[in-house]
């Protein structure tokens, strides 16, 4: 284990041209998955579609994956990312995207038979859960590629420039904002019930408290 977690002093001697790449890829990964969840929110509030339970489950897995990359981003903000930090972050991301991939595959299979129009409105020709499956699988490949080039892209000491801290703050702030919006939205959608119905057709909180019929 000692060989995978060199001290900052030791790693500074082996700083590579592409050594910061995994930090920036982690920023892209966390912001990217959060952006995908924003797409779901857009369809929910702009097209006024009610997200189904499996859609919400996929959003949760997307944000769990974002938190994996977010760990690498957070460590980068301190100026030091050890080998075990990179492994922990990408391990979390891989578990989450595989679980999300199963959830989106399952939903795709529910609507694959001829004549089934699917759930919700298509976006760019495909339903949201099909896009989600494609992106989950693409993420598995992307993390695999990143890990194979770990010897070139994983500096343990990052520059003391405020750029890294500002970028990290922006990414984690974005993730936090989107989690909060989802928290509020799903509370209104679910109301005081344990589970969402299979086919939601209203924000149950407002119905439960008598604001809407």
């Amino acid at each position: 284990m000692a060989t995978t977690t060199p001290t900052p002093a030791a790693s500074a001697e082996t700083s590579r041209p592409l050594g910061k790449l995994q930090f920036w890829f982690a920023c892209f990964f966390a912001a990217g998955w959060t952006g995908v969840v924003c797409g779901g929110l857009g369809v929910q509030f702009i097209s006024w579609d009610y997200p189904c339970p499996l859609c919400m489950v996929q959003r949760m897995f997307m944000l769990l994956a974002a938190l994996g990359a977010g760990w690498i981003v957070r460590r980068g903000m301190t100026g030091t990312i050890t080998g075990r930090d990179y492994m922990m972050g990408w391990g979390m991301a891989l578990v989450a995207v595989m679980a999300g991939g199963f959830a989106s595959w399952r939903q795709t299979m529910l609507h694959i038979l001829p004549g089934d129009k699917g759930y919700g409105s298509p976006v760019l020709g495909l339903h949201m859960y099909v896009w989600a499956w494609i992106l989950f699988m693409a993420s598995v490949v992307a993390v695999g590629i990143v890990l194979t080039f770990a010897h070139l892209t994983t500096d343990t000491a990052l520059p003391s420039s405020p750029l890294y801290r500002r970028a990290g703050l922006a990414v984690l702030g974005f993730v936090g904002l989107v989690i909060t919006v989802n928290l509020v939205a799903v509370f209104f959608l679910e109301g005081f019930h344990w589970f969402l119905p299979d086919d939601p057709n209203r924000y149950r909180f407002f119905h439960d408290v008598g604001i809407t019929d």
Binding site: P53, L54, M56, V57, M60, F61, L63, L64, L67, G70, W71, R74, T78, M88, M92, V95, A96, A99, F102, A103, R106, M109, L110, I112, L113, P114, L172, V175, G176, I179, T180, N182, L183, V186, F187, L189, E190, W194, F195, L196, D198
Partner: protein, 54 residues
């Protein structure tokens, strides 16, 4: 359940941002993950019926 899970996600992000020990973050993250898997299992109520008899 969904609301609680998003609350758990927010809690995990707070733990991550505050740079608390990784054991705490991993505990919260795995609890949220298993809760999400349990929620997924709850919503799987039938087989896919993907036979070629349609």
């Amino acid at each position: 359940m969904d609301t609680l899970i998003f609350g758990g996600l927010l809690a995990a992000l707070v733990v991550l941002y505050q740079d608390r020990p990784r054991k705490l973050l991993l505990t919260v993250w795995w609890v949220v993950l298993f809760a999400t898997v349990a929620l997924l299992a709850h919503h799987i109520t039938s087989s896919l019926k993907l036979g070629l008899s349609y």
